[in-house]
C-alpha cells in the first residue's frame, strides 16, 4: 500500500495483530473470507474436512490486523479472530 504522505504519529501508533483460528469442520468453502480479508491472510487448503470441503487456513497469519471481518462474514461460524498482545507478534513487518 502506498501513502502520499507520512502520518505524523506513524512511529507511535502500531496496528493491532490478531490470531486467526479456523474451526475447520464448520467450513463450507464459500470463500467469502478469502475474498474480503483486507490483508489476504486466508487461503483454501488442500485437505478435506468432515463435510468434504477444502477448509480455509490462515496462509499469512502474521499479516492479520485483527479487523475481524472474516469472523463476521463467515456464514458458518467457523472463524475466530483473537487479538494478540504486542510481545506475541512475530515479525514486525507490518510497520515497514
Amino acid at each position: 500500500m502506498k501513502y502520499w504522505r507520512k502520518a505524523l504519529d506513524q512511529d507511535k501508533v502500531k496496528p493491532s495483530h490478531g490470531q486467526v483460528e479456523i474451526l475447520k469442520d464448520k467450513c463450507k468453502g464459500c470463500r467469502f473470507c478469502i475474498e474480503f480479508c483486507p490483508r489476504q491472510v486466508l487461503e483454501e487448503s488442500t485437505e478435506f474436512n468432515r463435510k468434504g470441503y477444502h477448509p480455509v487456513y490462515a496462509a499469512r497469519g502474521d499479516d492479520c490486523v485483527n479487523c475481524g471481518l472474516c469472523e463476521l462474514i463467515c456464514p458458518d461460524f467457523a472463524i475466530m479472530v483473537t487479538p494478540l498482545e504486542e510481545e506475541e507478534v512475530k515479525g514486525e513487518k507490518c510497520h515497514a
Binding site: 475447520k24 477448509p55 487456513y57 463476521l72 462474514i73 456464514p75 461460524f77
Partner: protein
C-alpha cells in the same frame, strides 16, 4: 496450519443452539453472515439476552429463530409481525425482533408489515431479501427484479417488484436502512442502532441465494453475488427511499435512509389512558348485593 476440529467452540456458540448446528443454509448463502452480524450487533447494545425475543415466519430466513439461544418463535408464514405485536404490547419490557424473509414479510405478510409500521409498534424488523422464495425452490417473489428468471418466471419476470425501504418508510417506520450481506461491519452497526431505536425500525439486508436465484441469473455462487454487491453498491445515507429501487444486476443504493422520531403505539395509548382515567384502579366493590349464582364457578 492453525486449523481446529469441530469440537472447538466459537465464542458466539453460547448464543446459538449448538445441538441444532450445523444450520441448513447452503454454502454461499448470506444468512449465516447476517445472523452473526445480528448477534454481534445485539451484544453491543448491552440489552439483557433474557429480554430479547426473536420471532420468525416461514422460509430460509424463518429458520433463524430456531438457531438462536434466546426466547424464539417460529410462527406461520407471514405472521411473525402480528405475533410479535402481541408479545410486545402484552409485555413492553421485551425487546422484540422480527427476523424473516422478503416473501414472508412483503408478500404474504405485507399487510401486517404496513400496519405495524403505521402503528409504530416498538420492534425491530430485519428483512432478508434474496429476491426469491428460496426454500420452496426459487419462485418469483414480491421483490424479484423485472426480467429476472425464477422457477415461476422462467422466461423472465414481468411483475414490478416492491421497493422495500420505500414501502416501510411510507407506512411510517421511524428507522429504515438497507445493506447487503457483504457490508458486515455497517450492518452490525445498523443492527445495534436499530435495536436501540424506539419505535418501528426496519432493516433490509440484500443477501445471496446462489442455489436458485443466483444460478438462474448468472451469479451461480454466493461469492459471485457478493462481488456484484461490492461493485454495484452505492452508499447514500439519507437517500430518498423513493429512489432506491433495484433493477436486475443494477446499482444497489445502501445506507440509512430514515431516522426520525414519532410517538410509539404505547406512548399514544398511555397518553390517552392518562387523560381519560384517574390514576388509581379501585378495589373490587363488594358492598353491592352479593350475588351467588348456581354454576357461576366452573369446575
Amino acid at each position: 496450519m492453525n486449523l481446529k476440529g469441530s469440537d472447538e467452540k466459537h465464542y458466539i456458540d453460547k448464543y446459538l443452539r449448538e445441538d441444532r448446528m450445523p444450520h441448513i443454509w447452503c454454502p454461499g448463502c448470506g444468512l449465516g453472515s447476517i445472523l452473526h452480524c445480528f448477534l454481534s450487533g445485539l451484544i453491543k447494545t448491552g440489552i439483557s439476552m433474557d429480554k430479547v425475543v426473536v420471532v420468525s415466519g416461514i422460509g430460509c430466513t424463518g429458520r433463524v429463530a430456531g438457531y438462536l439461544k434466546l426466547d424464539s418463535f417460529h410462527t406461520t408464514h407471514g405472521r411473525a409481525i402480528p405475533f410479535a405485536t402481541g408479545l410486545k404490547l402484552a409485555n413492553p419490557k421485551l425487546k422484540v425482533v422480527v427476523f424473516s424473509g422478503d416473501g414472508d414479510l412483503i408478500a404474504i405478510g405485507g399487510n401486517h408489515l404496513i400496519h405495524a409500521a403505521r402503528r409504530n409498534i416498538d420492534m425491530t424488523v430485519i428483512c432478508v431479501n434474496n429476491f426469491n422464495y428460496g426454500m420452496t425452490g426459487g419462485q418469483l417473489g414480491p421483490t424479484t427484479p423485472l426480467t429476472a428468471r425464477t422457477t415461476t418466471s422462467p422466461i423472465g419476470n414481468y411483475e414490478r417488484p416492491f421497493n422495500v425501504p420505500y414501502l416501510a418508510a411510507a407506512s411510517g417506520a421511524v428507522y429504515v436502512a438497507r445493506w447487503t450481506s457483504m457490508h458486515v461491519r455497517r450492518l452490525e452497526q445498523t443492527i445495534t442502532e436499530g435495536l436501540l431505536k424506539r419505535g418501528f425500525s426496519f432493516i433490509e439486508v440484500i443477501s445471496p441465494c446462489p442455489t436458485v436465484y443466483g444460478r438462474m441469473n448468472r451469479q451461480p455462487t454466493g461469492l459471485d453475488q457478493l462481488r456484484y454487491y461490492r461493485e454495484n453498491s452505492v452508499i447514500r445515507h439519507g437517500a430518498d427511499p423513493k429512489e432506491v429501487d433495484i433493477d436486475l444486476n443494477g446499482k444497489i443504493v445502501v445506507g440509512k435512509f430514515i431516522d426520525i422520531e414519532r410517538p410509539t403505539y404505547s406512548d399514544l395509548l398511555d397518553e390517552v389512558v392518562q387523560k381519560a382515567f384517574e390514576p388509581e384502579l379501585p378495589k373490587p366493590d363488594t358492598s353491592k348485593k352479593r350475588a351467588t349464582v348456581a354454576g357461576s364457578t366452573p369446575k
